[in-house]
């Protein structure tokens, strides 16, 4: 029986080093501006004056994001050419022969997973390194993690955890298949407004 896998990240030990992002680019030979996996810096709070000094009341954590291989993949729903499909194994893939580059999926996906490649004129995306999975290897990003906090796990429908962690959108939109263990600052992010601290890198 095919595995039904999703990415799991232990945010408590993620340093935001982007080895996963670069490994993905190397494996899939992605051009400039195309990032199937991205590392988002979550920033919030600020500095408060305290007499003669400043006190840090800010928070920071990193979330490495790729395709969530959702159980209700909105990219599949909106694709007018049926280029985007979810396979038996749960992996959402795009058929570049069928894709006409309309970019509806890119617009619809709340995770930024489908990435338009200007050079080829079609949408590209994470395929969970299914060639690796087929031979018992982990995806390139997982193999690349120097902190060993990124993994693929067998996740049954409804088995996701932490999928509503900021900056991720409400998980009931698409039922993402992922498991995130919290960073110590995730709780603080829940009590005040957070923002993305590295927008230009995404």
């Amino acid at each position: 029986m095919a595995r039904r896998v999703g990415f799991a990240v232990d945010l408590s030990g993620c340093t935001g080093c982007k080895a996963c992002q670069l490994a993905c680019k190397d494996k899939h030979r992605l051009g400039p501006g195309v990032l199937w996996r991205r590392v988002v810096e979550v920033a919030g709070g600020g500095w408060e004056r305290d007499g003669s000094t400043w006190r840090d009341a800010s928070w920071t954590y990193y979330v490495s994001v790729a395709c969530m291989h959702c159980d209700r993949p909105i990219c599949v729903e909106v694709c007018p050419t049926k280029a985007m499909t979810k396979g038996e194994d749960g992996i959402v893939t795009v058929d570049s022969e069928r894709c006409m580059g309309c970019r509806y999926c890119e617009w619809a996906c709340p995770y930024g997973a489908p990435q338009f490649d200007a050079a080829s004129g079609v949408v590209t995306k994470c395929d969970l390194c299914s060639d690796h999975l087929a031979v018992g290897r982990d995806p390139a990003c997982v193999e690349a993690c120097p902190m060993r906090v990124l993994a693929v796990e067998d996740l049954e429908v409804g088995g996701s955890r932490g999928a509503d962690t900021f900056p991720l959108p409400p998980s009931d939109l698409t039922e993402p298949r992922t498991r995130l263990a919290p960073h110590r600052d995730v709780g603080r992010a829940a009590i005040g407004p957070s923002r993305i601290g590295n927008e230009e890198e995404l």
Partner: protein
């Protein structure tokens, strides 16, 4: 074909395994260490972003592919193509001419770590000169000059670290300015901290920046004003005294100079460390309140950290290197060592003596195995004193750190820079260095051998194209810790006419009449075999080059099952196993430093010395912000500065706290001018809470790109930094740097 090799790490703090896929003579993919086993004794060597982006450097369109000779003025960057024969003839002729005109002391090979694979790198030029009468040598480093010198003043050695596998025995880890997640400091050093934390250690990061280590490894970040770490360390000692947390037994039996009762011979009645902390002589008690005003760290935080560190059980105080590249960088090293000693964390599992921390039992990595030989000229200067050796070599003496003779005989007249961007980008005060190099009456001939037209290479008279480490055979030693050797088979042919540094230097050696002596008849692969032989005492089962290559192992590792603990014998019996210090004990008070007679700059006990540029000085009126040049994952020093994938991942920005930005009307992303009297640069800013107010960060290593007006548009922090060196180690003080910023108006 999938071939295991080592990341061409330049001088990154890691040495990682990569798996290269080679198709039709081209490397098309670089994958992570693919070994399945991954445990504490022998963890996988997983490369960071830089290793994974390497192909963008390897096949960069700007690679140098043929020898060139300068046309036009020096520094203009205009060159014409010449043949290898002509290039090597010119190099040999100029070396001969300068040697005969000025003597061996006029020849100089600067510090350079742009290649580090034994058959590539600056040491190839060192061997060349060492076999032909010598040249002005270098000693110490840009990176850790102060800790190299100051750590032995306390412990008599630089080997003060337990092997990293021991960290899981620690209950408390103070990452003091230490940032293993970005600077790396040994492959897996960040991962070892994570292992300790998972086993219950509390991890606290003290740093002006909330580094990636502070975010991903620590339980708490304590932001501190740069250059004031000694004040906090001293106030922590005050808390220990105040609350009776000093390990009195260890101090009495293993240390000198803590108090009046433990002063070393010949120093009775002098100011002890306790005297200094309690302010008995200077009238200033170094309380947490005193330190709060200096460091910006709340007094209750200082008190709490001191208590935690002293009572948690075995605790590690791990020092970073940035804080010792500062005005009086020797002091922070000594103060950290002293705190480790008086809490009894020396010589025990889970503890740390602090300081440089080369690993027990033997100091770890040998860095390079290629035999450079002894320098027969026998004279050396601190690496960062090269500008002075050019400008006023005749006047440079022992007081400037000159070793081997009282005064230099000559100014430096020929520089042969191999794999070195230290003449421009990586040396302090770039505008000054550029003026010095542009004057053809000073350095009469400059040979630069590199893979790219770096800002240093733009000043070359002769430009020699080196191949990358993937294009020849090489070998690399596990950085700092030396737990493994990584073999680099030649993956592809050198690009264009480029050659290994070894091959180029061999060509010059031949023309200097020492070809045979230089090569000993070996090619690069045979040298790797020879180096493997030289390492066999450390790794008895090390294969020879044929077996290494045939196995496609890529790495030979010595698993660390029982990690060594530095000073364990000394701890058990200080009489039988004395330290290599004058007293045989931990020198909290150093009689050697006392005898220098410079108590204001080189005190006998570690002291907080206000920096020559600081927020507390007159200069802060015009330049109120402290500028740091952090180590970013975007580059290894200045290598990879032109790598598009890394620029995309980590764009070069000046990082500013919103508090400072708001006061100046600066918004996120604005182009910002950073300036002081030494120089100015303009790059976009990033507003971030991850830096303390009053501090800005311009990650070091970006390539200098001056516009017509002399403003650097590349974002090289060294246009702002000072060439002034530290008083004892003669090390760089680049991070002691006051600046102002303003929004750049179009």
């Amino acid at each position: 074909m999938r071939i295991r090799t080592c990341c061409p790490a330049h001088n990154c703090g890691g040495r990682c395994l990569l798996v290269a896929t080679v198709e039709d003579g081209v490397i098309v993919r670089l994958e992570a260490d693919d070994r399945r086993d991954d445990d504490l004794a022998m963890p996988r060597l997983v490369a960071c972003a830089r290793g994974r982006a390497y192909l963008q450097r390897q096949y960069h369109p700007d690679r140098l592919t043929h020898p060139q000779r300068r046309v036009g003025k020096r520094g203009e960057g205009r060159f014409e193509r010449i043949s290898w024969d002509e290039a090597l003839d010119v190099a040999a002729a100029e070396i001969r001419r300068v040697r005969e005109t000025y003597g061996h002391g006029a020849l100089f090979v600067p510090y350079g770590t742009g290649a580090y694979s034994n058959t590539n790198g600056s040491h190839l030029a060192r061997r060349l000169f060492n076999l032909s009468g010598g040249c002005l040598g270098i000693e110490n480093t840009y990176s850790w000059a102060c800790t190299n010198r100051a750590t032995p003043t306390v412990y008599g050695t630089r080997i003060t670290g337990n092997q990293r596998q021991d960290q899981v025995n620690s209950r408390y880890i103070l990452m003091w300015g230490w940032n293993p997640a970005e600077m790396i400091d040994g492959t897996n050093s960040a991962w070892f901290v994570k292992q300790a934390r998972e086993r219950g250690a509390r991890v606290v990061c003290i740093d002006p920046r909330k580094t990636l280590s502070a975010v991903g490894l620590a339980d708490e970040w304590v932001p501190i004003r740069p250059g004031t770490d000694v004040a906090m360390l001293t106030a922590m000692a005050h808390v220990l005294l105040d609350e009776d947390l000093v390990d009195r037994d260890f101090v009495r039996t293993h240390c000198v100079g803590f108090d009046a009762a433990t002063m070393p011979a010949g120093a009775a009645g002098e100011e002890s460390y306790e005297d200094y902390v309690l302010g008995r002589r200077d009238g200033v008690e170094k309380t947490p309140a005193w330190a709060e005003a200096i460091t910006g760290v709340p007094r209750e935080t200082i008190r709490r950290i001191a208590r935690e560190y002293a009572s948690a059980g075995p605790a590690m105080l791990v020092q970073g290197y940035g804080m010792q590249r500062r005005a009086y960088g020797e002091q922070v090293v000594r103060a950290g060592c002293v705190l480790a000693a008086i809490t009894g964390n020396v010589g025990i599992p889970g503890g740390s003596a602090s300081g440089l921390g080369l690993p027990a039992p033997d100091g770890g990595s040998r860095w390079l195995g290629f035999p450079t030989g002894e320098n027969p000229y026998g004279t050396a200067i601190p690496v960062a004193a090269w500008t002075e050796a050019v400008l006023r070599g005749h006047a440079l003496g022992r007081e400037d750190g000159v070793l081997g003779r009282d005064r230099l005989e000559t100014d430096v007249k020929l520089i042969y820079a191999v794999a070195s961007n230290c003449l421009i980008d990586q040396h302090m005060n770039v505008n000054r260095s550029a003026r010095i190099l542009a004057d053809e009456g000073l350095v009469e001939f400059l040979i630069v051998q590199d893979q790219f037209l770096t800002p240093t290479a733009r000043f070359a008279d002769l430009l020699l194209p080196a191949c990358t480490a993937f294009e020849t055979y090489g070998i690399q030693d596990g950085w700092k810790f030396g737990d493994e050797l990584l073999f680099m088979p030649q993956l592809v042919e050198p690009l264009g006419e480029s050659k290994s540094d070894y091959a180029i230097c061999s060509g010059i050696a031949e023309r200097l009449g020492i070809g045979e002596a230089y090569t000993e008849g070996r090619d690069e692969r045979q040298w790797v075999d020879r180096i493997l032989e030289l390492y066999r005492d450390r790794f008895p089962d090390l294969p020879d080059v044929d077996a290494f290559e045939a196995s496609n192992a890529g790495v030979h590792t010595r698993p660390i099952d029982e990690p060594a603990v530095a000073f364990a014998d000394f701890r058990k019996d200080p009489e039988a196993h004395p330290l290599d210090t004058p007293s045989g004990k931990v020198e909290i008070f150093s009689k050697t430093l006392f005898d220098l007679g410079r108590p204001d700059e080189i005190p006998a006990v570690p002291k907080y010395v206000e920096e020559w540029e600081s927020p507390f000085g007159e200069e802060a009126r015009r330049f109120p912000l402290q500028a740091l040049g952090s180590h970013s994952l975007s580059r290894v020093h200045s290598s990879h500065a032109n790598n598009p994938w890394l620029q995309e991942a980590f764009p070069q920005r000046v990082f500013v706290n919103p508090v400072d930005a708001e006061a100046r009307g600066i918004r996120d992303g604005d182009p910002v001018r950073v300036f002081n009297d030494r120089g100015r640069l303009v790059i976009p800013c990033r507003l971030t809470n991850r830096i303390r107010p009053g501090v800005v960060d311009i990650p070091q290593g970006a390539w200098w790109a001056p516009d017509a007006d002399g403003t650097d548009r590349g974002g090289n922090v060294n246009v702002l930094t000072t060439e002034r060196l530290t008083p004892f180690a003669h090390g760089p003080a680049a991070h002691t740097c006051m600046v102002e910023i303003e929004r750049e108006r179009p």
